[in-house]
Point group: C2
Chain length 490, copies 2
């Protein structure tokens, strides 16, 4: 065997173990008995120890030095392995395991604190998580910016500066749009009523199929915080049900279907290799967002969805299809990011970006986070946070150490905007398909132009290759302006 083959055989095994660790995470969020939490922390730490040892195995350096890339694919594999090796060798194994153990337990502590609206119960844990991740960031950054070092985990090539510049350009147009929408004379009505749990889950399953989700290689379960998990031939999704708000379940499901279809759509030759996963969190989010928003919340698709819901649940009491479309896309300054409309969503992200950057850089202490959050929320959204579960306790991310992850949600929106523009050009009659509840043309285009390549190209390159132009925030902002001008009759 050549050095390249030896390396790839070793890597394949590592990827299989990473899938196992991921499955443990799925288990923890969906089916694990609560009394198992402490033990699970030990198990996660043990897996992390194994993975870290493999990712830093000195043989990798030797193989990398001798391996020769015969084609573009091999070149990309080697590039990703080298990147992973260089990052992993910078972090002491002890620290990687401690982070795995602490964050596994921290998640339960966060969930309890959120349920009780008890910030104080969470702060010591958050303090530990921030301390550990800063320690890791320092090891990774080698004197560079700590927050950049963490962003790089989720969105290679991006930095706080490049992301901050995008956000600075987006903000004025989003704020202007928000003001126009909030002040508009025409305000769409919200959907009200009661939508039973089982009926929502049936609809969720059917919508997953509508968007091409392959249930022979995945499954749909309930979770407090919907997520997708796994790659290759086992990419699972979760959703949640709020009986007064079926859109929560519907759009959570479509969103997670986008993530899972990305994983399931990757070229089978890349299975259990570094190329066999989404290239970055931003590109991943571009898939979930375009499924959810540009397709799922389009006027054409909601025309079909409104009729489908009426068939299943009876008259929705909203009037015509435009009114249903308005209800789906209603803009309101809510507390919760995951429930935010398309206009407010990126403003939530910008706020988290600034706060977590300051936490990681050390200019904001954990003890001062709640006050900083609440002040910023009032200033950006014009509403005072009424309780911590509507404020800094709302998201799981920080409890599990995900700092540098939030901005990729907004990058995903930006990329989705670009892809949507290119998709519309490639499939001019897309609305005619969507109006029939048919997504094949769209998801096929995405699979062919984005998903199947997995990690072959870098994040921006992946989008550029699919779109044929340099990605920026313009298409997203144009799309939002046009869409909400129509809905709000601006």
């Amino acid at each position: 065997m050549s050095a390249y083959e030896d390396l790839m055989a070793f890597q394949r095994r590592t990827e299989a173990l990473a899938q196992v660790a991921g499955r443990l995470g799925w288990d923890q969020e969906t089916v694990m008995p609560r009394g198992a939490a402490e033990q699970r922390g030990e198990e996660m730490a043990a897996m992390e120890g194994i993975l870290h040892a493999r990712r830093t195995d000195p043989r990798i350096a030797d193989w990398l030095a001798r391996a020769e890339a015969v084609d573009e694919e091999a070149e990309a594999q080697l590039r990703l392995i080298r990147r992973s090796y260089e990052r992993a060798t910078k972090v002491p194994g002890r620290l990687a395991e401690e982070i795995a153990r602490v964050t596994s337990v921290a998640q339960g502590i966060w969930a309890d604190a959120r349920a009780k609206d008890d910030v104080a119960a969470f702060l010591p844990t958050l303090d530990t998580v921030v301390r550990l991740r800063r320690e890791e960031a320092a090891a990774l950054a080698g004197g560079g910016d700590l927050y950049d070092a963490l962003i790089d985990d989720y969105e290679p090539e991006a930095t706080a500066d490049t992301i901050g510049a995008v956000f600075d350009r987006m903000r004025p147009r989003l704020v202007a749009l928000r003001e126009a929408v909030m002040g508009a004379a025409h305000q769409p009505r919200a959907l009200s009523g009661h939508f039973g749990h089982d009926g929502q889950m049936r609809l969720a399953r059917d919508l997953a199929k509508t968007f091409g989700y392959d249930f022979t290689r995945g499954r749909l379960d309930l979770a407090v915080h919907p997520f997708s998990s796994g790659a290759g031939n086992d990419a699972r999704i979760t959703t949640r049900v709020v009986e007064t708000d079926p859109f929560n379940c519907i759009y959570s499901t479509i969103h997670e279907v986008g993530h899972a279809c990305y994983e399931l759509g990757i070229d089978g030759d890349y299975l259990l290799t570094p190329l066999g996963g989404g290239v970055s969190m931003g590109v991943h989010e571009s898939q979930s967002r375009i499924y959810e928003n540009q397709l799922g919340r389009s006027r054409a698709f909601t025309g079909w969805l409104g009729a489908e819901m009426t068939d299943r649940f009876g008259d929705l009491g909203l009037g015509d299809a435009d009114a249903f479309h308005g209800a789906v896309n209603r803009v309101a300054p809510g507390f919760i990011r995951t429930e935010a409309d398309e206009v407010h969503y990126n403003l939530h992200i910008m706020m988290r970006f600034d706060l977590e950057r300051d936490l990681i850089r050390g200019s904001l202490g954990v003890a001062d986070l709640e006050e900083a959050w609440n002040a910023r929320f009032l200033s950006d959204f014009g509403v005072a946070v009424d309780r911590p579960s509507h404020g800094m306790l709302q998201d799981v991310h920080w409890s599990i150490g995900l700092f540098g992850y939030f901005p990729t949600y907004a990058l995903g929106n930006v990329y989705a905007g670009c892809l949507h523009q290119a998709l519309r050009a490639a499939v001019p009659d897309l609305d005619a398909h969507l109006a029939q509840g048919q997504t094949e043309a769209a998801v096929e285009w995405l699979r062919e132009n984005v998903q199947r390549f997995g990690g072959l190209r870098g994040p921006r390159d992946t989008i550029r290759h699919a779109c044929g132009f340099e990605p920026d925030e313009g298409p997203l902002l144009d799309y939002l302006d046009a869409k909400f001008a129509e809905i709000y009759r601006l």
Copy 2:
């Protein structure tokens, strides 16, 4: 840290990883999408590779040479670690991984073959599994008996000879009892009717609680072949529902509760150590069997259960409590081991014991197994096997390489017989409790005298310590004779 502490820290990590591998198995049997089977084989092989590398880590020999046991517990830990190390180092890592990969995939092939009653579709796979396990047995046996080497994996201290001797003593009394029962003038009626899926699952959950199962450290799901899985604070069970036969679900559940309560009942200090699991499959089965049979199928408990079922499902159409007890304990020469009554059950095991011993020793070829099975079944049970899914394809065990495992089921019955005799002596008013649907006195005695010790003592020693006498088949056979004489009015 002392050598003992170093060794235990290493071992704790290995046990945590073994729990992870076990959870993958649970996932595969309950929730895994079927398209993930191949990939799962890779994942299982990767975990097996990791576990095998740890179990054969040369540092263990060094630690063992230097470790000093300060008490009985430490002595037992070292004994189990030494045993595991000696066995693991005899098996090449390549072989251990190949077995993990092949058996993971073989299970799906077996399930398909069983569904289609297609022996030929299973034979090549079975042939591979037998070949690999014989290869492993040869590595373990070091010139000794191949089948003994495999038995030792599941029931340390037992051999084909010692088990064969027990079976030889049991057979005449079981055959005589079977003949008396089958020829009796009084034959209890069977339960008939339709019992809805959801109602059975609710009853199963309630019965699990009745027998002390802690749902904060476990869960109940559906599986084709009920099993229990996991240890420490995450011991899960599964059951199945046949709408015409609620006893299938009820007694599968109580059986698996017995297994899981054993794991959950082990001293918390032994968590993630070699002592923190059941000592052998035979002792494990003694717990599941005493819960299921000596308690769950007793006249006292079925008196309560019959009333409970009548409350839930309406009149059962059987008449009085004696008739219900008769229906629960009806003796019939069915094809399926897992559905066998207490009289026939051990006869099924004896047949498998003889067949698999011949397969592993090489005196029976896989190609001749079906004929051998069918001839033996006709001779022992007086009925011709009508299709392979009622014959050699009925059980999962051989597909996943479990050779040497079947006899532990009968040993479990023998041990349950002994424990039952001791329990009755210790709790003279046990029937008064069971007649109220109260199992605390029994399960508390079992926890106190068997379960909490985990792997502290050897299998026979564990039973001897609990009972105060040398275990043999006498109490089981006396119990069966008395029980069925009463039911069948012999």
